[in-house]
């Protein structure tokens, strides 16, 4: 069903009884051209682009729970392309451009809202770093504005400008950044992929790989039986090491837990996304009015999908430092997601050393904003067997070659990225 103002009016007049399933629920076939493990944003976007951009329609997406039950439902919904390093700059801008036309492409309201992101700076050194990053962005045709404290005060009058330790001196603004509705992104891609012929198979956990005599991956063993595949793509961020281990592969990845928080709903307060540059804190306001915020990883390896108190305290301190008034707001709920923390903080989209197995991993905690571009470039890799130009640097062997993409300059220490 094509959604439009007319389909909405028609359904309204018939008491909303005529809506049909948004995507099919087929039984798994015995073989597909491409099997994608992982029904999150990246897996579904990949399937969508395989069907609609590259004409490969005999595709299955296998999800061990329900689609979008992992990190897709555990993020803070921010989209942006304010990156400074070669490899990242172009890739995230490609993603931003796909966000901007997503609703038209998918015929689905993903509530993309370009209300801007401001990264605050609190020292001369940080201003210089942000100026450099903003210049890099503008050289690459991406919007960026460096604001001083007076200009920030006009946009965000409620911040604490008199903090003696972390005075707000200004910020880097990207107006085209913003937020999108995370669940709608999943549903939109699922619906469009399903319409393109993709089989979305839920409650189907991959338990092993099928290999031929040469070691080539020719399918997967699942809880719903063996499924043959011409190619297998992994998009299981958080569990990449576990799934890769079934194929005997070790990755430059650790799994860590990142917490996020939502407050009770309040009147519209925060116009866009604000990040606190001196600590690690970022906040936006949802359409329902809740403040959505987060900060650092808990810092230790975890598969538990829940965090611990010290980081909760640290995040709230970060919030209080720039917006003391949010101390009056009650926290409604908190959750933890499991992240693939790669050794340099950047993703890996590449063929694996095993024939027939392809990797989309290592998103650290920045995977949501990458969803559309990740799907496009991974579909490109699966369809053409060569890297998409905008993802040419996200290679698995970059660590061995010393060609890291270390946006934060932390070195090979995953819990610091």
């Amino acid at each position: 069903m094509k959604y439009s103002i007319f389909s909405l009016a028609r359904a309204a007049l018939s008491g909303h009884k005529g809506w049909t399933r948004a995507w099919r629920d087929p039984a798994p076939k015995s073989r597909y051209d491409v099997v994608i493990i992982g029904g999150g944003g990246h897996g579904l976007a990949t399937a969508y682009f395989l069907a609609h951009e590259y004409g490969i329609r005999n595709v299955a997406v296998l999800e061990k729970g329900w689609i979008g039950s992992g990190n897709a439902g555990r993020n803070t919904t921010i989209i942006r392309s304010n990156y400074g390093l070669p490899g990242n700059t172009g890739f995230y801008e490609l993603s931003m451009k796909l966000w901007e036309r997503m609703e038209q492409d998918l015929n689905y309201n993903t509530m993309v809202s370009q209300r801007g992101i401001i990264n605050l700076y609190h020292s001369d050194a940080q201003r210089d770093a942000f100026a450099r990053r903003g210049n890099t962005m503008r050289i690459n045709g991406i919007d960026a504005e460096l604001l001083n404290a007076v200009q920030i005060r006009k946009e965000l009058p409620f911040l604490n400008y008199d903090n003696a330790r972390f005075p707000i001196m200004g910020g880097l603004l990207q107006r085209r950044a913003g937020t999108a509705r995370h669940d709608a992104v999943i549903w939109g891609y699922a619906r469009a992929a399903s319409e393109g012929g993709v089989d979305i198979i839920q409650n189907c956990e991959v338990t092993g790989f099928v290999r031929d005599a040469n070691g080539k991956v020719t399918g997967v063993e699942t809880t719903r039986g063996r499924i043959g595949a011409g190619k297998v793509g992994m998009a299981v961020a958080g569990s990449s090491s576990r799934v890769a281990a079934m194929a005997g592969l070790r990755l430059p990845i650790e799994s860590h837990v990142l917490q996020a928080f939502v407050s009770e709903a309040i009147k519209p307060l925060i116009p866009g996304v604000i990040t606190f540059g001196a600590g690690h804190f970022y906040v936006s306001q949802s359409d329902k009015g809740g403040l959505v915020f987060g900060g650092d990883l808990d810092g230790y390896n975890s598969y538990a999908q829940r965090g611990n108190m010290p980081v909760m305290e640290d995040v709230c301190e970060g919030g209080m430092a720039i917006m003391p008034m949010i101390g009056r707001v009650r926290m409604l709920r908190q959750w933890g997601g499991i992240m693939d923390m790669s050794m340099d903080g950047s993703p890996i989209i590449d063929k694996s050393p095993i024939d027939g197995l392809y990797l989309n991993a290592g998103w650290c905690y920045g995977g949501f904003k990458a969803t559309p571009a990740s799907g496009l470039v991974f579909a490109h890799l699966l369809a053409r067997d060569e890297a998409h130009p905008e993802a040419a640097l996200f290679r698995l062997d970059r660590f061995r070659r010393g060609a890291m993409i270390d946006e934060k300059g932390q070195g090979a220490q995953p819990n610091l990225h």
Partner: protein, 102 residues
């Protein structure tokens, strides 16, 4: 999550800093140029970048910066956050002091 430091007793984990997996060992090659560069490179690539990243019990280094400032080795389940054991890291200051009977 609370960590039972062998020197200070049970403390909340905010007092501790995490280093990571305790299993990788720094490769040790003689500096006589006889080892093939490829083998040395492989060994260091493995040591610096590759991780088992187990879902289950792993041995890991923690530093008790908010307490006795000792390096500790903990066995912890990464799925449940349950600690199985916490001992002094071999060779760390406090551990050697305990061995010396101080």
């Amino acid at each position: 999550m609370r960590i039972a430091c062998p020197f200070c007793g049970e403390r909340e984990n905010g007092e501790f800093t995490y280093l990571g997996d305790a299993s990788p060992e720094r490769p040790n090659f003689a500096v006589d140029g006889r080892e093939s560069p490829d083998r040395v490179e492989d060994a260091f690539y493995d040591y610096v970048y590759l991780r088992d990243n187990v879902a289950g019990v792993m041995r890991e280094y923690w530093y008790h910066g908010g307490g006795c400032r000792s390096w500790l080795v903990a066995e912890r389940n990464t799925v449940t956050h349950e600690f199985i054991s916490v001992t002094a890291a071999p060779g760390a200051g406090a551990a050697s002091a305990v061995r010396a009977g101080e």
